[in-house]
Amino acid sequence: MEGTAVLGRLNWRAAKVVELTPETSQTKTITFDVPGWPGHRAGQHVDVRLTADDGYQAERSYSIASAADGPRIDLTVERLDDGEVSPYLTDELRTGDVIELRGPVGGYFVWNPQAEGTVFLVGGGSGVVPLMAMARQRALERSGIPTRLLYSARSWDDVIYRDELAELTARRDGFDVVYTLTRAQPAGWDGYSRRVDTDMLGEVGPVSSELAVAFVCGPTPFVEAVASGLVELGHEPARIKTERFGPTGG
């Protein structure tokens, strides 16, 4: 059936680091080569498992950043200073290292626009990662589905994928980005400079009759504010898909 991932047993796979790309001061993209990778859909995530020498294991979920592209997947990881897993992934991992992951998982938060209208992506901080996978998949498929990304970041330097988002916008194929910078703005900044609120969602997003689906990803309070704002604006709750980051995402 369309809309679900491949059925079957979910195994831990060995994933080899082939490239490390710093994105911002706090985020890094890790490219893995995963032999036997079954492919994925934009928006899905993987579970990463680290095992210490004494057998202690820690597991975290990370969204896949890349469009489906053979045996390679990109994860963009935000370093959480008090995290248990993310500092290892961003600071210690080297090309050639092998870690365990399983996936892809999650058929709920995936790029699969069926209704007519505009797709509205709303991302807070590293919540942009699965939305970027969707933008990349859309570009790869040469889809003309009208898509707008509202991206909330602390500052211009905290914007992940800045250059690529500019390139995707420059294609003028129906994709564009609106930024809001909540803590610091560069000189001459004429965009939004506050947290996403209902007024902003109303100005940036489509009216309810034109919304195909909204994908909202970020920290739990961010997602909660956006989802309730969208409902307040008259959007059907069933068209609002959310992915919350918990406080133990590290």
Binding site: G3, T4, S61, G103, Y108, P221, K241, P247
Partner: protein
Amino acid sequence: MDALMLDGNAAAGLLHEIFGSEMTTAVGTCDGCGTAGEVGGVHLYRGAGLAFRCPHCGNVLMKIVVGDERVWVDFRGLRALQLNG
């Protein structure tokens, strides 16, 4: 609003492991209020185990506890679970 709340989607890997198939697009019906919705969109709380709650009425739909040798699943709050496949 609870800052510790996640979506059912966050448990996609564990659910797949337990049920053997993709579960976040399965549709569950709450035994409390009768609302039906995708498992990926229910509210998830993580503590010693996982508690899945109805986003409409807050009823606990399902609880999962993972131990060393076994997994314990309580379905008490679910009236029905429809798997698509």
